[in-house]
């Protein structure tokens, strides 16, 4: 049984990493462990549990900034800023439904380390785009900081981008500062019913290419639409487009969007409450939830150009039995494959290589993730560069070694 170390402040995090370096021990950095089942399974000598570093340390709504200890629960932050009419515009998804954990367990450090986002990614960006500054302990056992607490800053390298999506393999973040934004006053969803993924991609491209300021564009094929929007789908596919803003604007854009989409097929619309429920279900990939009809399937997440999403799905579907959910105007493809020894890795990676982008294995038994890896193998030059970056932050390989790729 590996040790669990629970530092109470940044100094104790520094001490723990220095201990790991001196003792040549590897550390797994966790908050509440909500994304532990994600990534390449690796054996670690000890767990560095940062959930003890908790609490918002600065919140200035009018400056659009919030600072918090890395282990602060996301739910606490979202409740605090919601009271001031603000939100995290990148709409971080909760992996719990997919991975079978308890919902609402994420910490802000984990959200940033995994570079989470949601349907609004296409308009507002991902966690990386809202990450303003941090203090961390590198794998060298040194405390360092980058960025600041203002929303516009180009002083030095933008290390926030590097930390976002590094899954705790470069440094243990202790304090973070993020940008918060006003939450839209209201929203509405326009839905196109009964079209195939190719037609849906064309309709979503038309909507995204309009001045409608669409903040969500997803396609749920008929096979899965009922799992997210049963009443509306009635056995048909649902292509959903979200509009957010002040009431007069949403009303105006809804009318324009309905006119634009009318030639593509039958339309329906959702009021704010059902609209919010639908986008929460899309964000958390409820149609493929553990314990649901697709709960045993192996789940991949593909990011490609919006017009290539349907093509990637077709390539995969031709070779294996799979269900799909398309978000980001077609550019984000969630693929749920019938279980197999390699989770369909060759098929999925072949498809994404043909279409451009990257694919990550999100849900599969540990043995499968261990054998095929979760993150996409990178081309030689990039893999070597990534390894040199890792060595620059963690030369002894004490922080999450093997979590992203073997040997990194």
């Amino acid at each position: 049984m590996a040790d669990i170390v629970t530092p109470r402040d940044a100094n104790e995090v520094e001490a723990a990493v220095q201990w790991a370096i001196a003792q040549k021990k590897s550390l797994e950095i966790v908050g509440h462990g909500s994304k532990r089942a994600l990534g390449r399974p690796a054996q670690f000598d000890a767990t560095l549990d940062l959930s003890g570093l908790s609490g918002v340390t600065l919140y200035e709504p009018e400056e659009l900034v919030l600072s918090a200890r890395a282990g602060t629960p996301l739910a606490e932050i979202e409740a605090l800023i919601a009271a001031k009419g603000q939100e995290l515009a990148f709409e971080p998804m909760d992996f719990a439904p997919l991975l079978g954990g308890k919902p609402g367990q994420a910490t802000i450090g984990g959200v940033l380390a995994a570079n989470l986002s949601g349907p609004r990614r296409i308009k507002a960006g991902a966690a990386r785009d809202h990450f303003l500054g941090f203090t961390a302990v590198s794998g060298r056992g040194e405390v360092f900081k980058s960025g600041g607490r203002v929303v516009k800053n180009v002083t030095g390298y933008d290390l926030c981008k590097l930390m976002a999506g590094s899954w705790g393999t470069l440094a243990a973040m202790t304090d973070v500062t993020i940008k918060v934004l006003p939450r839209a006053e209201t929203e509405a969803t326009v839905m196109l019913l009964g079209v195939d993924p190719g037609q849906a991609a064309a309709a979503m491209a038309a909507a995204m290419g309009s001045s409608g300021d669409v903040s969500g564009a997803a396609h749920l094929p008929a096979a899965i639409a009922g799992r997210a929007a049963r009443d509306v789908a009635a056995g048909r596919s649902v292509t959903a487009l979200r509009l957010e803003g002040v009431a007069p604007s949403v009303a105006h854009r809804k009318k324009a969007l309905e006119e634009l989409l009318a030639p593509y097929g039958a339309l329906a619309a959702l009021d704010p409450a059902p609209s919010r429920a639908l986008w929460a279900a899309i964000r958390d990939v409820i149609p493929f939830a553990a314990g649901g009809p697709a709960g045993e399937r192996h789940v991949w997440r593909l990011s490609t150009a919006p017009t290539q999403g349907a093509a990637a799905a077709r390539l995969i579907g031709e070779q294996t039995e799979a269900e799909f959910l398309f978000d980001w105007g077609g550019g984000l493809v969630w693929a749920a494959l019938a279980p197999s020894d390699d989770a369909g890795a060759a098929v999925v990676r072949g498809a994404i290589e043909a279409c451009g982008g990257h694919a990550t294995l999100i849900r599969a038994p540990a043995a499968v993730r261990a054998s095929v890896g979760a993150f996409m193998p990178q081309p030689g030059g990039i893999a070597a560069l990534a390894k040199r970056v890792k060595d620059g932050f963690d030369p002894a390989g004490v922080l999450g070694p093997g979590r992203m790729w073997a040997g990194v």
Binding site: G156, L162, S303
Partner: protein
């Protein structure tokens, strides 16, 4: 102005003829410039106080040539300084006397426009404005709009992570670039990102953007393009005090409105531009705010009403909303002419660029007035009010002995002040050589060493644009050494389960 640059390599300078000949073999014809007269235009960038002739100028036109030039220089330990249009205000493209100046101007083609995926693939020498122009017929544009957009290039925008007046709502370069092709100092060509969102591994794209030409030479950029908003309207508001103006900005954002642009000017700036362009700005106010709302007509009209109401509550002494496109452009004409207007009232001006938490504005302006008296130099302020990015224009005369040095000292004091109140040294112009020696005001030695270790991952010999950004250069081997502090183990005291 004085700044210490890396000591020229006598060995490299002694081999200049041989190096020029080798470079001519890679980039034939007029692509290599070695005569002093022809190199003169390259001796400085937008920060003209610093000048240095390069050893040689090379203007490659293909990625292969860039790769071969860099591989040649890497093998022989020759420094390289990349350059776009040379509009940097921080000296990012200042040449080195023993270095190759690599001008990317010939990379000037738009390779692909893909409206369905809302992206454009362009070469780095394409100007910022040319991207918007190329997609304008379909009603699209490229959002980041630095004020030099008519001249500055996308490659330079990538290097500096350029912003503009609309970046509070639409983001900076880093939020609008999806992919890059770039050449490492070894000559290796790598591709980061593409037409898709986010990285499948470490976000190296995010690191290269804003790296000021220290990590690689960009040869292709994939940018996001956006549909133009249906309409835009602006409100011009005058305030009796800068505190009232600052309060108005805070109230607008606090009420949930993110304007497309929100600019502030102080009294000296208002007077300078009004005399110059006659935009109809009120002269009896201490601060002037331009708030622009963009989007569908119904949204813009509604929000203009809300902004007007907030402005009145914040003691606005004058208030006008634009009722036509001509009127909106007139409101902006003054702000956009702020720099040339400063040039009219003073023989020279020095443009600074710091960001502060907005609430600190009154304190910073008050201190700036004291500094202005102390140094005996005028200062006019323009301010991207929405994001706290301050551009003080220090007025001086380089023909008066000592004024340039005083302007520089004044500028340094302002930037230190920005850091002191919780802000940063640069919001959008970059560190370059200009703010290099101020970096320790914001970062510890450990912070800066960690950043330099990242550079080592890209450029092991430190040959790409050395002398910029970092005040002290270290060898990568020295930075890589790790001192294991085995004796300092507080670990046994930690709670364990």
């Amino acid at each position: 102005m004085s700044v210490t640059m890396p000591v020229p390599d006598a060995d490299v300078l002694a081999r200049r003829d041989e190096i020029v000949a080798a470079l001519r073999a890679i980039v034939p014809g007029e692509g290599v410039i070695a005569s002093e007269r022809e190199m003169r235009p390259y001796e400085s960038d937008g920060l003209t106080a610093y000048r240095q002739l390069p050893m040689v100028v090379v203007l490659p036109s293909t990625t292969q040539q860039v790769s071969q030039v860099l591989a040649y220089c890497h093998a022989r330990g020759i420094k390289v300084v990349p350059r776009g249009a040379g509009t940097s205000l921080s000296g990012g493209a200042l040449p080195l006397g023993d270095g190759v100046l690599l001008g990317m101007a010939k990379f000037n083609r738009i390779r692909e426009i893909d409206f369905d995926n809302r992206i454009a693939v362009v070469e780095p020498g394409v100007t910022n404005l040319a991207v918007s122009t190329a997609v304008a017929d379909q009603g699209f544009y490229y959002a980041p709009d630095p004020s030099s957009q008519i001249a500055c290039t996308i490659g330079g925008n990538v290097a500096e992570n350029s912003g503009g007046v609309h970046c509070l709502k639409y983001g900076m370069t880093t939020n609008n670039v999806l992919g890059l092709e770039m050449v490492l100092m070894t000559g290796e060509i790598v591709r980061l990102g593409g037409k898709h969102l986010d990285a499948g591994g470490y976000d190296l794209l995010g690191i290269v953007i804003g790296s000021e030409g220290l990590l690689g030479v960009v040869t292709e950029v994939t940018v996001r393009i956006l549909k133009k908003p249906e309409t835009a309207r602006a409100v011009l508001v005058g305030f009796p005090t800068s505190e009232d103006a600052g309060q108005c900005v805070a109230r607008i954002i606090g009420s949930g409105i993110i304007p497309g642009g929100m600019e502030m000017m102080d009294k000296p700036a208002i007077h300078a531009v009004e005399e110059f362009v006659h935009a109809g700005y009120p002269l009896d106010v201490e601060a002037l705010l331009i708030v622009e709302l963009d989007g569908p007509q119904a949204e813009v009209d509604y929000l203009i009403g809300r902004v007007e109401a907030i402005a009145k509550e914040c003691h606005a002494s004058t208030l006008r909303a634009s009722n036509s496109e001509e009127e909106r452009l007139l409101f902006w004409a003054g702000r956009k002419a702020a720099f040339p207007a400063a040039g009219r009232i003073s023989p020279d001006y020095y443009c600074m660029d710091g960001t502060i938490p907005r609430a600190q504005l009154p304190r910073v302006l008050a201190r700036m007035r004291e500094l202005s008296e102390h140094y005996g130099l005028g200062v006019a302020n323009v301010f991207h009010a929405g994001d706290g990015n301050l551009h003080p224009l220090i007025l001086y005369d380089s023909n008066k002995p000592g004024e340039l040095d005083r302007a520089e000292a004044f500028g340094s004091d302002i930037l230190r002040l920005c850091v002191e109140v919780g802000g940063v040294l640069t919001g959008e112009h970059g560190v370059g050589v200009e703010k290099r020696d101020l970096m320790p005001a914001m970062f510890s030695e450990t912070d800066l060493n960690q950043q330099q270790r990242l550079k080592c991952a890209f450029d092991d010999k430190g040959l790409l644009n050395p002398g910029k950004v970092f005040p002290t250069l270290h060898r990568c081997a020295e930075l890589g050494r790790m001192h294991v502090k085995a004796g300092k183990v507080a670990f046994p005291d930690l709670p364990r389960f």
